[in-house]
Symmetry: C2
Subunit: 172 residues, 2 copies
């Protein structure tokens, strides 16, 4: 079974976590949420979801797909060494990563942005550029293993592009 | 272009509106939200979405697909004559309708439940039965043009079944 990992924390942008969470399940994918600690995390708007494992646990396991939602969560996720290790491994192994909004803050801290084409929430555009990224103002930017989007209205195109990548790479 | 109509109101269950809203857009469908009045409506959890038309306006137009999300909104939607007229027309014309959670409250008031197999949030099961419905405890119940689900965790199966119906009927 294909396994996807969502890495997030309290303050996630609810619909940026829940849309890929349900969308990937719709494809028959096993979707696991990891957070700094195992247990409930609460979204910026108010949804509660269960993180079934901590980053410390997740880093020991293998996943096929990585999703990094936005909101205020990425500023918490980027402080966690194991979360950054997970991200680096996905990039090293060229495995699919989807991120949106403030999610690229985690990519910046993992040091995987240099030379990559990507987008993000406009408010962190300068950080993406300072980290060596090529920032593009588009609903969904695909660059190799990475599919990025700016904000919730981009989600249809974000997931359409990401699922196309999964099919291209025979993960689905 | 295929046109979908979402009928809702203040108090909608956020993810039950936003998931089909983005999911149908992902398929290239034009998705319109209608409410008692044109303008913003606010979800139970706190998301704000723009209803681009009132039910009075929507009833004058043609749509291919109808979605009725849950939350507290259906108790408001069911008070609106034009909303009920829209629902009745969808059933009369055997066009695809997706509903979830408290959404079937609108179906009850439209008088379209009798003899139909469907599911809903457990708390309104007895109302569905009293209205003549055959209530089934399953993540997604398909009966002709109608695809119903119980609550947010059913959404992957709900949309998978609904999109299968749209393909079967050559709407996609």
């Amino acid at each position: 079974m294909v396994r996807a990992l969502i890495i997030s924390a309290d303050g996630f942008e609810d619909i940026e976590l829940l849309y890929p969470y349900y969308r990937l399940q719709e494809l028959g994918i096993d979707v696991i949420i990891a957070a700094p600690q195992q247990g409930d995390i609460v979204g910026k708007v108010g949804y509660k979801v269960k993180a079934s494992m901590s980053f410390k646990e997740a880093v020991k396991q293998d996943f096929d797909i990585l999703v990094i939602p936005g909101g205020r969560a990425p500023e918490r996720v980027r402080l966690e060494a194991e979360a950054l290790e997970i991200v680096r491994r996905f990039f090293k192994e060229d495995k699919p990563v989807a991120t949106i909004c403030h999610g690229p803050q985690v990519l910046i801290s993992a040091g995987v942005v240099r030379g990559r084409r990507l987008t993000s929430w406009w408010g962190i555009k300068d950080d993406v550029i300072a980290a060596g990224g090529i920032w593009i103002d588009s609903p969904a930017v695909v660059d190799g293993n990475l599919v990025s989007a700016r904000y919730p209205p981009d989600e249809p195109e974000w997931m359409r592009s990401f699922i196309a990548l999964l099919r291209e790479r025979k993960i689905l």
